[in-house]
Amino acid sequence: MADNQQMMCGSCGSSGLCGGKGLVTLKEGAWTNNPLAIQVLGICSALAVTNRLANSLVMGAALIFVCVGSNLIVSLLRKYTPHRIRMVAEVAIIATFVILFDQFLKAFYVEMSDQLGPYVGLIITNCIVMGRAEAFALQNPPMLSIVDGLANGLGYAVALAIIGFFRELLGTGEILGHEVLKEAWYTPNQLMILAPGAFFALGMVIAAFNAVKGPEAEEKK
């Protein structure tokens, strides 16, 4: 984890575009600098929960909620947070939102909470949330930070939904539990719901993002 955070600090220094307007921030977070497909952050949860589309959607929603909330609070407190303990403060803020969401799931969607297991709690250590707080919210006003949190949460959620869609479709022949590919002529590909299938799907999504966006993503660095 420590490595990832340092990587984030380094990458935020170079991407000076963040200081622009809301739309630029939105596009940056959700598309041109997509946290999952371009920056390749938050891989652990992307591999672990995407075997079903429903799980992926809930996980994406959780990340949007946490990212927006923590970005807002971190940004509001940015002038009062002593520099040396900012990390501790960020983790405390993020943890608050994660636990809120976790409790919400446990109260109203017990089954989903059981399926996601520890991965909702692990959002606390998700490098996307931490990275956005560190790289963006600490230096920007609250409204812009909300937009940034929304953009990155969305970018992650969309990428996760794409992976979850294909893994569930190919791995079980179903979408959200409804049979789409008939058992009679489609044999479920069990590899896709195993961990290796997650790697292949993630790799394909990253390749697709880069193919659509063009090779400039690497040149920027």
């Binding site: 044999t187 590909n189 069990q190 590899l191 195993l194 290796p196 292949f200």
Partner: protein, 369 residues
């Protein structure tokens, strides 16, 4: 042959730059070069003339598998032919698509993969699985790494590994009882017993796990169930020795695999860690060498010059890793066969082995001053 050359010459302008179909130039080029040696000359020195180039290299590999292909036809029937056709068609489609996108020629490397792939599959496997497997192997195992010569993994084994993990039930239900007698199954189109029969054919290795070991002579001759081309030990050795004599396969890899396999199995028997239903020390070892895909893997799959190390010491270590991993998987895991996984594991470490060997050699040279 003159008439054929005339046709090729007449059609060529259509596929060249400016022609109507120049997008398909790689496909045309592959067909042309399959028929005739290319007319292009090298521009600068050195002009090395050697009768063996990449294409001839691949031809040797294909010739060496021919005995196994005939054995597969004899033991498992005519179904092997559509399997080979599907393997070539689907693999070449992926290969051609990449060649067109990259504007490169189609490489000959696939001709070996295309024949090896059906040989390492259960003979009763559905044809669509052959197609999916070979397409996955060529796409993920080869083209994504940059095509022939740049792949880390053996494409055929990637395809087989994919099928084994994706469709485990279908794979284990696709074994066919080997035919015997004068014509074997040469005249029939044998399919795997239907799933409803609830009778699955067991391979010698899965029977051995239950304590039954068939006669060594069956394994040597090949009339046992198993992957299409892997059953007849004697024909594999025949093709393998041909590969070694033409130096297409390197003997160090094969020796490393077989020696480490024999020594480790012997040590395990002697130490009492494993026991087999055949008595003695030597005969269970020979039985296990002949059973399953070990020989086929050692001679045809592990020796692939692209995915094995280039240094001689590296080849020895690579072989030892594959041989000993196979022993461990066969004896101490739920899998009855481990050659596919062992060779893929060996492929992963092959580049590191080369790096290490070179680094050690350089350090030694430096210290000698």
């Amino acid at each position: 042959m003159k008439w054929l050359l005339k046709i090729v010459d007449a059609v060529r302008p259509t596929f060249e730059e400016g022609g109507k179909l120049h997008v398909f130039n790689p496909v045309f080029g592959a067909l042309e070069h399959f028929l005739f040696a290319p007319g292009t000359r090298t521009l600068g020195a050195p002009h090395i003339r050697d009768p063996i180039d990449l294409k001839r290299f691949m031809s040797m590999a294909i010739i060496s598998v021919v005995p196994c292909v005939f054995a597969a036809l004899y033991f498992f029937g005519l179904r092997i032919i559509p399997m080979i056709i599907v393997s070539y068609a689907c693999g070449l489609a992926v290969e051609a698509a990449f060649a067109i996108v990259r504007k490169e020629g189609i490489n000959e490397g696939f001709f070996v993969t295309g024949i090896l792939f059906p040989m390492i599959l259960p003979p009763g496997i559905p044809l669509w699985m052959v197609g999916v497997g070979v397409a996955f192997g060529v796409l993920i195992g080869k083209e994504l790494f940059g095509g022939t010569g740049r792949n880390i993994f053996n494409p055929a084994l990637v395809g087989r590994c994919f099928l084994a993990l994706a469709y485990p039930a279908k794979m284990s239900a696709s074994w066919i009882e080997a035919g015997g007698g004068l014509t074997g199954r040469l005249l029939e189109y044998a399919t795997a017993p239907a799933a409803t029969d609830a009778v699955t054919v067991a391979t010698p290795l899965s029977e051995a796990k239950g304590g039954q070991m068939c006669s060594i002579w069956h394994l040597l001759f090949g009339n046992v169930s198993g992957s299409a081309g892997e059953t007849s030990a004697i024909l594999i050795i025949l093709g393998g020795v041909f590969l070694l004599f033409t130096r297409v396969a390197n003997w160090r890899t094969v020796a490393g695999i077989l020696l480490s396999f024999v020594i480790l199995t012997g040590a395990l028997i002697q130490g009492g860690a494993v026991s087999y239903s055949i008595d003695g020390l030597v005969s269970p070892i020979i039985w296990h060498v002949f059973a399953g895909g070990l020989l086929f893997g050692a001679f045809f799959m592990a020796t692939d010059p692209v995915t094995s190390p280039t240094s001689n010491i590296g080849k020895w270590i690579y072989g030892i890793i594959i041989g000993s991993t196979t022993v461990l998987i066969r004896n101490f895991t739920g899998y009855v066969e481990g050659v596919t996984f062992a060779i893929l594991l060996g492929n992963i470490v092959a580049p590191i082995l080369d790096e290490a060997v070179i680094a050690i050699r350089i350090r030694r040279l430096r210290s000698e001053g």
